[in-house]
Each structure stands twice: as C-alpha cells, then as structure tokens.
Symmetry: C2
Subunit: 293 residues, 2 copies
C-alpha cells in the first residue's frame, strides 16, 4: 500500500512554481499577482485566506487581500470585482466563499472576468472544462488529477467510482476523469439516491469519495488493490484535541488502507493540494497560458 | 415491450408549442422568431435546416434563413452573428454545423449571445447546465429526457449507462442524468477505452447508446427489462433503398427489443425529438423564460 502524500506533493509543486517565477523575473517578466476578497470574519474563511496568502509568498507571487465587513452590499462587492477585472496588475483573483446571505454568490462569480477566474467557478470555465477546452480547472478536482498522475496511478479504461455529485468536486471530477485527455476512465457517479452504491464501489479500480459522511467507505466496499482518494473533511468532535475536533475523511482509513494499492490520508492528502492548485492556476494566469488578455 | 414513438411525441409537443404561441399572440405578445445561418450547400445541412424551417411553421414561429457561400470569411460570419445578437426581433438563432474548415466553429459559437443560443452550445449554457442552473439545454439530450419523462420511465436511483462521450450527446446526457432535478440516476459513462463496457451494460436499467457504431449493442449486453435509448444514426449502404442507404442505430434492434421494457427505434425515436427541442428552446427564448434580455 502506498500512502499518497499530498503535503509533500504540494510542497514540491510550490517549489516548482517558485522556480518558474524566478525564471520569469530573470527574463524581465512580471511577478504573478493573486488578489483575494474576504467578506466578514468567519473562522474557516479567515484560515483559508491566510493560507492562500502564505502560499503566495512561498511561490514568489504578489498577493493582495481585500476585506469587507459582513454588511457590505452586493453592489459594493460587484464594484470591487469590476475594479479587479480592470486592474492590469492583478492576474487572477478569488472571492472567498461562503458570502453573507444577502449577496448572490452566483451573481458575484459571474461578474468575475473568466480570464482571471483562478477558482474556475465561472460558467465559462465550467463549460469549457466540460467540452475539453483550455480553461481554469477548479482546485480540488485538479489537485486529485495531479496526485493520480504524480503517483503513476493508471486511470485509462479503469473503473472510477465517484461518490457525491457536488458542483465543486463530484461533477467536475466526473467530467475530468471521463475525458480522453485527462482520466480516460470509465466513470460512475453515485450519490444519496443510488440504489447499488456498494456494488459499484466493490467493482471500482479507483474510488473518489466526496460525499461528506465520515467513515462512509468501509472495507467491504473496496476491491483489493483499489486506489482510494478521500476528499471528505468533516469536523468531528474530539475531546483529546486542543481544538476540540479533528478532520474526518469519508473513508474508514484503518480498515480500508490495508486493502488499497494507493490511498490518501485525511488530513494531508487531497487538502494540501487545493491551495497549491490555486497557485498553479495563478501562475497560468500570470503567464497568459490559458487566455490572452 | 413499449416502443418509444419519438415521431408521435415530437408531433404532440409541436402542437403544444403551437397552442402556446396562439396564447401569446392572443395576449398581444410577439411571435417567437428563430433565425438560422447556413453556410454552403452540404446535403445533410440543407435537409436539417429545411426541416427546422418547416418545424417553425408548424409551431407558428417566424423563421429567417441566412445563407452564405462556402467561401464566406470568418469575419463576415462573425459580423452576421453580431447583427443577430443585436436584432431585437430575433429571439434565438443557430449556426448550422459543420462550418468550412477555414472558420473556427468554437469562435463562432462563443460569439453568439448566450441568451439567444437555442442550440445550447455556448460555454455559458454548457457550464450552467453542468452546475444545475437555468439554461438552454442542447436538443438531443433534452429530447431524450423528454421521452423518458413522457413515457414514465423511472430514472431515480437507477443505473444508467451512457455509451459515448461526445460533447453533444454523451457528456451532457451524463450531466443531466446524474442531477437530482433531472435524471437523479447513478450514471456510468463508457467509451472506446472502457475495459468492462459489456459488464456495465448488463447491469444497466437504462442504456443510452451514442457511440456511432451500427448494431453495437447486442442482446447479450442488455438486462431483461432494461430501457434502451438509441441515439445512433449511421448511414449504412442499402441497395434495396432508393437513396442507396438506410439509417442504422447503435442497437441491434431485432434481437434487443424483445428484452426491453422500453426501446427507441431508428429512425423515429430520438431523431424527431431533436428539432422539436430546438423549437421548445426557441419558445423559451421568446418568452424570456430562461434569461431576461
């Protein structure tokens, strides 16, 4: 069994990005610049954004953090998005989700210039990904592809079962895994209404669990030799921790791991790859590799 | 076994659309207007466009046919697209594909105002469909959903195997069949590189064959009681026909049909639904049901 080390892989990729940035600077180019809009003071969002800013430093990017209080109006937020769209120095930017309820997340996402949408959430990027055109691919599915590739997990023609059909993981993951130029696998998407979910899993060469239910995937659902990717990160109460909780994956790791050819741990598997892929998208934006501007 | 009669269903839907148009006119509204751009004189394209114009008449729509010769430049075509985008009387329009090789189809598609893109090929419509937002859904997958619904084929939680991963059928079909608001099924997409394609089919409650290989789906691949939707329309030489060819589906109809709960014939199954769904999208465009303008 090989443990897929997302933390180490992410560190390697960030070092590769930093080296590329040095090349760009040495050639007289511009330092990639990522901006982030953060609304309010949600603990999770604060942590994510702080980690993104930190990752920018590691990669040699310029970063800007724009803060609004919870009572910002939709119009004010849209005006800032417009400003960032028009700011030639900003190569890519994100609006940290979730937003307060009085603001339409979809409206804000669609206001972002898709050529700066390094989160890959704009319908143009979602649509271009679906039909196999160059685009910004959202971080979590992109990170999983990267892990499979770097660990040499064979995907072509294999049966890949994806648990969950969320817009940010399950659906894009399915689209990528089925495409010839990415996974080229036989893809099955299971969800809460699937009647033969366990049977599907038992036949899978690759399981990607993104269903948000701790310990959902048990040993009886996994074929010996399968590769298991765990996207789950549910906070579970844990009095032995200082924080009072731990992050629990969708996979019952202790009993599943011995069966696997490859498995990702939680934490330290898919999680660290996410911010790293945002950095990669920012580099691509800075280099105008995907869209001219 | 129930034969799914696409021709009759399409006629019913067109009559429903015509009745709705009469209501709109009676209420002082505007007649929906579909425009079509046709480049060159390809026999297939001529027939398709002529059938679309005819269907517009049946539905009570206004239609406009804009013709260009094969040597039209990309710039000329893009200028016409812009003109139709800006023409307030035109509710929706299509550019009949394929285009001559010197013109980028993708560029032309992306130039269409997505609010008039009744073919549903613009990345914004593709992306919005993928994440479950209101949009123009392309005709073939939309027609298949409509057939399943009108014949009362249960899809929720069922295993649906899609053969083929084309941008116009396989991929959008998978996205629709997996979504809660449409198929809500467990979806598997198989293709030329799938190693266990036959086994997947044998377990399927619903097979949607869009692989473009005549008689590909044989009796040994179909579970008794399955519903089989045949999207294939390959021209096969047939000296007994005046035309010299017949349309052949992806399913070996004679041996598969007796096993099925439901099956679509070729021709007369999915085919007639396609133009009919273009008409439905044009009605939705005329009513501004999906996008304001």
């Amino acid at each position: 069994m090989t443990l897929i080390d997302g933390k180490a892989t992410a560190a390697t990729i960030k070092a590769e990005i930093a080296a590329r940035v040095e090349e760009i600077i040495a050639a007289g180019g511009k330092r990639p610049h990522l901006a982030a809009i953060l609304v309010g003071h949600d603990g999770g969002s604060e942590t994510y954004v702080a980690n993104k800013v930190k990752a920018c430093e590691v990669c040699g990017f310029k970063s800007s953090l724009i803060r609004f209080e919870d009572d910002v109006t939709e119009a004010e937020l849209l005006a800032k998005v417009k400003e960032l769209n028009e700011d030639d120095d900003v190569d890519g930017f994100i609006v940290q989700l979730p937003l307060p309820r009085h603001i339409s997340e979809q409206k804000v996402i669609e206001a972002i210039d898709y050529r700066k949408d390094v989160d890959g959430f704009h319908p143009i990027n979602v649509g271009r990904m679906a039909i196999g055109l160059p685009c910004f691919i959202s971080a979590t599915p992109k990170g999983i592809l990267e892990l499979l590739q770097r660990y040499g997990v064979e995907t072509r023609g294999k049966k890949c079962v994806i648990l969950g059909r969320s817009n940010i993981v399950g659906k894009p993951m399915a689209q990528l895994m089925m495409q010839k130029q990415y996974g080229d696998a036989t893809v099955t998407v299971c969800h809460s209404h699937s009647t033969h979910l366990k049977e599907e899993c038992r036949e899978a060469d690759i399981i990607i669990a993104a269903i948000g239910q701790p310990d959902f995937v048990t040993a009886d659902m996994v074929k010996p030799g399968a590769c298991v990717i765990d996207v789950g990160t549910t906070r579970v109460a844990d009095p032995t921790r200082k924080s009072g909780f731990r992050l629990n994956g969708d996979v019952k790791f202790d009993e599943v791991a011995p069966l696997c050819s490859y498995i990702t741990p939680v934490p330290g598997g898919v999680g660290p790859m996410t911010i790293c892929m945002l950095m990669l998208n920012t580099l691509l934006a800075g280099e105008r590799s995907i869209y001219a501007r």
